[in-house]
Structure formats: structure tokens, C-alpha cells
């Protein structure tokens, strides 16, 4: 028995979820966790499933051959170790939102993400979008992060200042405050 991650990407159209879930049902898998989104017309879904008997990637993977060829879907199956399966998103640090916006240009995500990674800041959510008009596109990125205890915020702010100047973007870091009711 074991857990698998199943990721599915393909041109969006009705019936993808039905076909993927049919195969999982027929194989005897239990869907424990899933999410999906549509990005620029591409449907993307990731599921964590459990099978009471199967444990190796090779046992579940062939079942998706038919949707790969018939629907043109890219399906990746990967066996997970038990310790990799964590059911709830747990915060280890202080939750913050970082919003970044400016003229669209390459490197915005990388420059910010690099500084965060260097400081062991975990990105728990990331959304990027290009808004504004065609001739004046504005790039918007919103990150949810866990700032680890003891992080040097002054030093991080200095790095962000450098990025602000280099890329002419605005970067705002604010804590996510919880209202206790």
C-alpha cells in the first residue's frame, strides 16, 4: 500500500477530471488531496492518492496510457514515501504577504525568490499575473511566505531595496495578522 502524486497537464476542456478520476476509481485509489487550476488555457491538476495494495510508480502509471494518447494529457505518477505525506499545511514561522509590482520584465520572480531562498524563507503560495493594457503591461506577484524566527529583516529590506532600484518595482512586506474572535 502507498501514496502517489499524480499530476495532469493538458489543454483545458470538459471531461479531464471525469476521465482522470474514473481511472483512479477503477484502479481502487482513494483521492486524499487535490487541487487544480487553469493557466492560459492549460488545465493543471495535482492529486495525492492512496492505494491499499500498490506501492510502486510502475504499478499505477500504465493505467493512464489511454488518456495520454486519447486526450493528449501529460500525466506524471510518482510514488511517495509515507513521511513525505503531510495532510495539513503547517506554519513554521510568521506568515507574511509580499506583494511586488512593476513594469513587466524578466527576472522579477527570480530576484525576489532568490533572496528568500538564501534566508530559508518558505514560499507557501505564489500568484503572478500580468495586468494593465497591452502597451503598458504591469507585472503583479503576490507571495505568501513563512518568515523563519530570527530572520534579519533589516538586511532583507536592504536586498529588496536593491531589487526595487534595479528592476523599478514596488515591494511591500506585511504580516498576516490574525484576528482572534
Amino acid at each position: 500500500m502507498g501514496h502517489f502524486s499524480v499530476s495532469v497537464v493538458g489543454k483545458d476542456r470538459p471531461g479531464i477530471v471525469a476521465e482522470v478520476s474514473r481511472i483512479l476509481f477503477e484502479q481502487g485509489c482513494n483521492i486524499e488531496d487535490s487541487t487544480c487550476t487553469i493557466l492560459s488555457g492549460q488545465f493543471a491538476m495535482i492529486l495525492v492518492v492512496f492505494h491499499p495494495k500498490m506501492a510502486a510508480t510502475g504499478e499505477l502509471n500504465p493505467a493512464f496510457e489511454e488518456v495520454r494518447s486519447r486526450m493528449g494529457l501529460m500525466v506524471t505518477v510518482h510514488a511517495l514515501k509515507d513521511e513525505e505525506v503531510v495532510h495539513e499545511k503547517a506554519f513554521s514561522g510568521a506568515p507574511h504577504i509580499i506583494s511586488v509590482y512593476g513594469a513587466d520584465r524578466p527576472g522579477i520572480v527570480y530576484m525576489v525568490a532568490k533572496e528568500l531562498a538564501l534566508r530559508k524563507v518558505n514560499i507557501t503560495d505564489l500568484n503572478t499575473q500580468v495586468v494593465g493594457s497591452k502597451d503598458r503591461p504591469v507585472y503583479v506577484m503576490v507571495l505568501e511566505v513563512d518568515l523563519p524566527e530570527g530572520i534579519d529583516m533589516k538586511e532583507l529590506e536592504r536586498e529588496f531595496d536593491r531589487i526595487r532600484k534595479e528592476l523599478s518595482v514596488s515591494i511591500t512586506v506585511r504580516p498576516i495578522e490574525t484576528m482572534e474572535l
Partner: protein, 169 residues
């Protein structure tokens, strides 16, 4: 005066509709004091409703002036609202809410930015008040309790809006 135990989800009483208070009598006063003691005993607690302590009466208390963030915003100080009714609301805001009755989770919830509330105060006097921002969120959250609605019922995406607490501060 006493700190009362808080009912925790999935206690079925939390999902019941509370009954209006028929008349504001002196014995209601000790319940209100107990509610305030219970609210203040919870770190950062800025609101409470009677059903959270198992009393299905339409009474809530809100006091955002006790919290750092709330005290910096416009607020009405300590509010005791009996039979509160939200007459009108406007605007939208998203706030990360935590609830004493759901200690393990917090969630991003969309609330109105502004509310107009009709209620009786602790002396039974009829009041109409306006509230904005942080305090307006607290009022909406507590009034929801009177209708058996928890913030979990208002989460639109469990993936992006619901968070497990590391620990309850």
C-alpha cells in the same frame, strides 16, 4: 464573574440558531460579565458570542480597543450588542480570522468593510451604530455565531484560505 468554558467545533450547539432576548433583565447582566471575562481571558480576544459558551441567546460582545491593531483603528470601544441585526453593509475586505471555538485553524475570510448595526445595549436601550474595518469584521463574525455560522462556512477555498495553526497563541 467567571471565565466560562468555550465550546469547540464540532459541538452541535455552535451550529444552532440562537433565540432573541425577550427582555433585558438584571440576571442578563451577570451573563454579560461572564462573557467579557471569558473574552478577555483569551489572548488577543476581541469578541465573543453567547452561543460559544453554550447559551443560545442573541448576545455578543466586541472590544477591539483591547488589541493593538484594533486600538489604532476607528472603533466604538466596548460593545455589548443584544439582538444585533446588520441593517446594511458595504465594501469588501479580506481578513485572517481565528476563532476560540476553532482553535486549530485560521482562515482568510471576506467580510464587509462597513456595517450598520441595530441592537439593544446592556441597559436594554435601542442603539444604531456604524462600524468600519477591524471592528466591523469582529461584529460580522460574532453575529454569524448567533445564526450558527462558523468561519469554516465562509471559507471559499480550503486550499488557499484555510491554515493550520502551529500553536494557539
Amino acid at each position: 464573574m467567571a471565565v466560562l468554558p468555550i465550546l469547540k467545533f464540532p459541538d452541535p450547539l455552535l451550529q444552532q440558531k440562537s433565540a432573541p432576548v425577550e427582555s433585558v433583565t438584571p440576571d442578563l447582566s451577570s451573563l454579560i460579565d461572564d462573557l467579557l471575562d471569558t473574552m478577555r481571558a483569551s489572548p488577543g480576544g476581541v469578541g465573543i458570542s453567547a452561543p460559544q459558551v453554550g447559551i443560545l441567546k442573541r448576545i455578543v460582545a466586541v472590544d477591539v480597543s483591547a488589541s493593538k491593531r484594533g486600538s489604532q483603528a476607528i472603533n466604538n470601544g466596548l460593545l455589548i450588542l443584544i439582538n444585533p441585526e446588520i441593517l446594511a453593509k458595504g465594501g469588501r475586505q479580506i481578513v485572517r480570522e481565528g476563532c476560540m471555538s476553532i482553535p486549530d485553524y485560521t482562515a482568510n475570510i471576506e467580510r464587509a468593510q462597513w456595517v450598520l448595526v441595530d441592537a439593544l445595549d446592556r441597559d436594554g436601550k435601542h442603539v444604531i451604530l456604524e462600524s468600519v474595518g477591524f471592528e466591523a469584521v469582529a461584529i460580522q463574525h460574532e453575529v454569524d455565531h448567533l445564526d450558527g455560522i462558523l468561519f469554516l462556512d465562509r471559507v471559499t477555498s480550503i486550499k488557499t484560505d484555510l491554515f493550520r495553526r502551529k500553536k494557539y497563541r
